[in-house]
């Protein structure tokens, strides 16, 4: 009986998520326009058609990819660390990525070797901060509390290093970098979309492949080993995958906090199943959430555009606070 309840609940959640996703996409692509105009925009060479193809669609695609990726990174990290506060942002992975990219921008590495350097430097920076957290927590046998504490400290140190870089930097170039750091989807270079789509999707599919292992790791490293998952090796694989995704996210749009925290948090509470459903649901939920946040940041103070990271920070932070207070 109750097994059927669960199945219906899962179906209802996924249908809601698909609807949300469709709404988010239509809203982001067609804000301020009628349906007929949007459809015409795809086919004609009018001004709106240009805006659609060159600005709105690429921006929406990137927002979907980033939102989804941050969410599954959060879900992954929360499972392996057994801590619902874990996400790329709180573990210092985002800060590490931003340091890598800041170094790349300041030293001009990116103009020297081309635009693909930023994601790579972001990944290296993310790996750097993750390795520090990993090595520190290994001594504490990956105690979940210790990992998050180390993550926050590492995050603060790496962020300070980013600001140190800023203070040494040519003030003319600071505006753009600061905007990017706050989480900004507007500065995207169009041709990069073709690189980002596979780059974001491949690690995500690998994560989808390992949901069973995630479930098992959530029982703690000792029990995981008894069930046949080598915890140390699995930790490494998951840290590398989340670092790749975080590096990509930060290089594309700076630091966008809380998406990876609240989306899996809420979905876990409504789904009440293992990671198999949670990961797919998180991807869709995170993607919709970021696209909605982006639309909101674009038009709430129109024509002034807010950095989307500020919007997710405020919305996400408030939702999280409400959840935390309610739980007590």
């Amino acid at each position: 009986m109750k097994g059927k309840d669960t199945r219906w609940r899962i179906r209802a959640v996924f249908i809601t998520l698909i609807l949300l996703l469709v709404c988010a996409i239509i809203l982001s692509i067609g804000y301020g326009k009628g349906m007929d105009e949007i459809i015409r925009g795809f086919t004609t060479r009018e001004e709106f058609g240009f805006v659609l193809r060159k600005i709105r669609i690429p921006r929406t695609i990137i927002a979907l990819l980033i939102g989804g990726s941050l969410s599954i990174c959060g879900a992954t990290l929360q499972s392996i660390l057994r801590n619902s506060l874990a996400e790329p942002y709180t573990l210092g992975i985002s800060a590490g990525a931003s340091l890598g990219i800041t170094i790349s921008v300041i030293l001009g590495v990116n103009s020297l070797f081309g635009i693909f350097v930023n994601p790579v430097m972001g990944f290296l920076g993310a790996m750097g901060s993750t390795s520090v957290v990993y090595i520190l927590s290994r001594k504490r046998l990956f105690d979940p509390g210790a990992i998050v504490l180390f993550g926050i400290v590492v995050s603060l140190v790496f962020s300070s290093l980013v600001f140190l870089m800023f203070s040494l930097m040519d003030p003319d170039r600071m505006q753009g970098v600061i905007l990017w750091l706050m989480g900004d989807l507007s500065g995207l270079e169009n041709e990069l979309v073709f690189f980002y789509v596979p780059a974001f999707l491949i690690p995500a599919f690998i994560l989808f492949f390992f949901t069973r292992e995630l479930d098992i790791l959530s029982l703690g490293s000792e029990k995981a080993q008894y069930l046949g998952v080598k915890p140390q090796r699995a930790y490494k694989v998951f840290f590398i995958l989340t670092s790749i995704l975080t590096g990509l996210c930060v290089s594309a749009a700076g630091i966008i906090g809380f998406v990876g925290l609240i989306v899996p948090h809420i979905l876990r509470a409504v789904l009440n199943t293992g990671n198999r459903h949670l990961m797919y649901a998180s991807y869709m939920g995170g993607a919709s959430f970021l696209v909605f946040s982006d639309v909101f940041s674009r038009y709430i103070l129109y024509p002034v555009e807010l950095p989307v990271g500020v919007v997710t920070g405020i919305i996400g932070g408030v939702i999280l606070l409400v959840l935390l207070i309610k739980r007590q």
């Binding site: 499972s79 029982l219 008894y226």
Partner: protein, 260 residues
Amino acid sequence: MLSIENVSFSYAKKEVIHNISLKIEEGEFVGIIGPNGSGKSTLLKISAGFLKPDKGEVYFLGRDIKEYDTKELARHIATLPQSVEVFFPHNVEDFIAMGRYPHIRRGFFKEKEKERELINDIMETMDIQYMEGRRITDLSEGERQRVFLAQCIAQDPVLLLLDEPVSHFDIRYQIKTLETLENLNKDGMTVVIVLHDLNLASEFCTRIVLMSEGKIYKEGSPHDVLTFQNIEEIYRTVVIVKENPISGKPYIIPISKKYL
């Protein structure tokens, strides 16, 4: 089946297992007893291949346990540690199904129906069908422990290692769970169980290993091990040992100091 040979182990600098040798034969129901801190759990973790001994070797089915792949070992040995962390609200069936992990090859979706039946059967044996669809996080500690045990049984092991699996239960579920284990044992599963309750150990185990300060103090049948001399020596508590009139096994009555 499992052969522990001259094993020593230390945490940091403190040696907690001193040169222990122990053989577990197929079909046995072995109880490990001993005071807190005598090394029972550590010995179990070494037997399960989780802790690597500093000295000595562990052989499982004639092969060094180090040579086994983690997944391969999980197909043969299921271990229930003292605490399993439950962090996420998995439903009970999904939770038990995690025990199938070492057996399932990736992408074999055809077996889904068979697997579901298997989980149902296990829930029936463990008498936990009524928990179907419930979240593991909503269960009581005793109920959870039975789900953990069901997860171990889903691994379809030849050797089951359990660290105090019934401490959270009331007497009804203690007996019920141990009877379930006894039945599994009769069907051929070898069981090694760490128990605190000496009377339960006496009733259910075919062999008892009494540990003290990282060594095996005594091993043998309940009658040989559970004598008042042994218990008073190791637990430093005055006891009277009688015979259970039904089973004929020894049973232990502690005597409070005020009557001495």
